[in-house]
Symmetry: C2
Subunit: 500 residues, 2 copies
């Protein structure tokens, strides 16, 4: 390996193996027959081992160090800098550690599934202990400046750290918690319309229409069903979403499809010619989540969007929806109400779920709480922030898949993403004065063009903070989300008007 | 790597990568969006390169050579012998050659698709020339004792060679060709019943019933749609079949599903504990094809099978089938008639298609004919053996996918498999006197038990010739197929009774 071309070739090879793992994972979630669980885990672990060896290849490291001191153009320099950063982090892991982690997550995922089905945390606890122990080791191995949890946070959102997030979540606590209390005191809207029988194939077909309207390219992707909706990609030319459908609850599928569609638009908007390079990869999970949240909430839960789409939905279900109009639908989809399950939460209380996980993970990684304490701590925090009593661990501490996958440090990106989304959408409205009118007309192209131009096409060429500054002229500011929330929900709940 | 355990570990790693490629291939055929063609080809090529490096690993070779001289039990010795044979063959390939072959087949597959769609052989010809040139090089590289084509044949059916196949196909020419002429002179049966409208989902559902009845385990597999039906597996716990369905032709799906089901039963019957070892892998393509052909023809095209299943089919399509009974269905499905397309051929003229491809490939590899001559040679042989005039290259020389994949030497295994099938089925009837009655009752378990016991579970522990000898007491004998054919079709066509 001697030059930038060799660097690109090796990156492409790394991407080929990494995406192959993603294909095996997608297949596992969406297609695989149940008897094949163990063999598939083994196949993925083998590819993960091969991937690690490619990631820490000595010649590759030498090349990166040489290129980092060579004369390259801006984009090339940026790529080398990012790859070298990753390379140096990967070098900290031994193959043995990678394999141990892979095995432990496989085992703990299986234990979690059983524990959740049986509502029995004790089945999951021993594996989770092993995993937390490994994660604590990983923090030391990666290294951190402030809090050990910073090491985990940085895996998903570079430069993210406890000090900044503490500040952000203090805002959430101080501003969002009281506002939700205000809403809770107001009369509640009705959501009966969701709970009727809706043919599943028609629901699926309707969400395909929505995805096409968003600009999702079905020639470079597909939508399937899975238990946990997700987006995955194997290049910008193959970006797949999954959704879930409930014949007796129309709201189940809707925001899954729109949310995953937002993720998918980002991946489809990366430059395929930069395949395998930092410039061809998504920037951070926070920014990724900003795209899905923007479509899910700022677009998908707006009145204008449904003024256009509700009549289309009614064409699919004329009988069930005959007594309702777009405004009813809008009211029903924007009910704010504390609940147990994060993925079904409204867009305000959602962040209390994240706040709780953030606080718990931080203490768990630091060793301030132990695995055995989790259910107790969990339930106490749900009482504190949401004022609800968690009925059982299945709907409590066991509800999310993330920990069983070893994904500690991930949750906060959901909130960061939502706050970025509000800030970006605000800016889009400023730059495209007709934006809300366009959405009302079902024309989502100008919005996508804005996102493609400002975010998607750049990959990792800028940091999240830079992108935010470039687009909005300031860094991430919770105020934009809070203003959006107050403005929207004060109207929905007829609260005392707020000046914004 | 020091001992037999290390050998097993490396084999398992090789299998993990090989099966990952199969997963990427399955996905490509069944799920992948169209824009992703190039990236996927690249991802597969990368894994193929990694696989090759694992296959020819020096330490692995040393271990194999040591183990081949060590004291091991019979099964272990057999495994080492088989793996060493494969290792030595793989060593003959350079990584450069493997990559060149992978790239050339990718390009020629794309060219073939276009050529077939446009009925224009000249689009495919230049790529096919490159490929044939590589294949000729590959023969020299692998080496052969008799005819260069032996090198190709051995890739699919070990020990298969031109000398034996010339003899076998002489039997086909001398015995089957005149018998088919005799049939052609007799009055033809009707097949109108197939050509009505049949709901595609119901068709699919019915074939799922058939697969379950055969013993196919849907918890270790699945059935999907694809243009070219095929079976693939990623372990014995994940064996997938595909089929194709035509709403206006009921026969399209039927034998695809049963045929692929036969393949799948073989793979599901391999011992999962022998994953990655020769003892856990199918024996040869001839034996593989014997399983699919046995179910497709000896079972699936028998009257008894449909005495049980036709009423079930009628439940799905009461209106369309109200004027027909099992006997009508049996007559319709067993019409013998020369046709252009191999995959739609009846079970007798089918072998003329194979014979033609065998003769052409043999001459092509030996350099006796060149790519540019193929359409002329093809059409002349169809006139000679089937007495039909090929209307265009799409229905002629371009019809099959195999050459574009570089699969020369594959076709003859279809005939070998059919002849093995007749011989195995004959033996099964001897050993299970109630077999035909059981089939008529829809009880296919005893047949599967016979095949599992005698074939499936052994993997590569015996050679094809040994397996055949072990089961039937003699080597492959065309007489069994010919007797089966004469007995069955003399009745169907009311020909002069034959003594068998």
């Amino acid at each position: 390996m001697k030059n930038y071309e060799d660097y690109k070739t090796h990156c492409s090879k790394i991407a080929d193996v990494a995406y192959s793992i993603s294909i095996l994972n997608w297949d596992q979630e969406v297609m695989m027959p149940k008897k094949s669980v163990e063999r598939r885990a083994q196949q993925i672990a083998t590819l993960a081992g091969i991937l690690h060896e490619l990631n820490v290849d000595k010649d590759f490291g030498n090349l990166l160090n040489i290129l980092s001191k060579s004369k390259l153009n801006d984009e090339e320099s940026r790529n080398i800098k990012e790859t070298l950063k990753e390379y140096n982090r990967n070098k900290k892991y031994t193959t043995r550690f990678v394999q141990l982690m892979s095995k432990t997550t496989s085992k703990s995922f299986t234990a979690w599934q059983e524990a959740k089905a049986k509502n029995d945390f004790s089945i999951f606890a021993p594996l989770l202990e092993e995993l937390v122990d490994l994660k604590r080791q990983e923090c030391e191995l990666i290294g951190y400046k402030g809090h050990p949890y910073d090491a985990m946070l940085g895996l998903f959102e570079p430069n993210s750290n406890v000090s900044d997030l503490d500040e952000l979540f203090t805002d959430v606590r101080n501003q969002l918690v009281p506002f939700v209390k205000e809403i809770a005191a107001a009369p509640q809207n009705k959501e009966d319309l969701f709970y009727q029988h809706f043919d599943q194939n028609k629901q699926l077909k309707f969400t395909e229409d929505l995805l096409i309207q968003m600009g999702y390219d079905f020639d470079a992707g597909r939508q399937d069903l899975s238990t946990h909706p997700f987006t995955t990609n194997f290049s910008a030319t193959d970006v797949r979403v999954t959704t879930r459908v409930d014949a007796n609850n129309l709201s189940e599928i809707m925001w899954s499809s729109i949310h995953e569609g937002g993720h998918a638009l980002y991946e489809q908007g990366l430059k395929d010619k930069n395949y395998g390079l930092p410039s061809g990869a998504y920037l951070s999970l926070g920014i990724h989540e900003s795209q899905s949240r923007l479509y899910e909430n700022n677009v998908g839960r707006s009145l204008g969007y449904w003024k256009h789409n509700f009549p289309k939905l009614k064409n699919y279900f004329p009988e069930q929806l005959k007594d309702y109009n777009a405004e009813d639908y809008y009211q029903a989809m924007n009910i704010v109400k504390p609940s147990f399950i994060r993925t079904n939460a409204d867009e305000l209380t959602y962040h209390f779920h994240i706040l709780i996980r953030y606080e718990i993970e931080k203490d768990l990684i630091a060793g301030n709480i132990e695995v055995k304490d989790l259910p107790k701590v969990w339930n106490a925090k749900y009482k504190e922030y949401l004022n609800i009593d968690v009925p059982n661990d299945g709907e409590g501490v066991l509800q999310d898949i993330h920990w069983s996958h070893g994904a500690f440090g991930y949750f906060s990106t959901y909130s960061i993403g939502s706050f970025y989304a509000a800030q970006f959408f605000n800016q889009a409205k400023k730059e495209i004065p007709e934006l809300e009118k366009q959405i009302e007309n079902g024309d989502l192209t100008p919005l996508l063009t804005f996102l493609r131009k400002n975010i998607h096409q750049h990959g990792k060429l800028f940091a999240s903070e830079e992108i935010c500054l470039n687009i909005t002229g300031e860094k991430l500011n919770f105020k934009h989300f809070m203003d959006y929330a107050k403005n929207k929900y004060s109207k929905i709940y007829n609260l005392t008007p707020v000046t914004i």
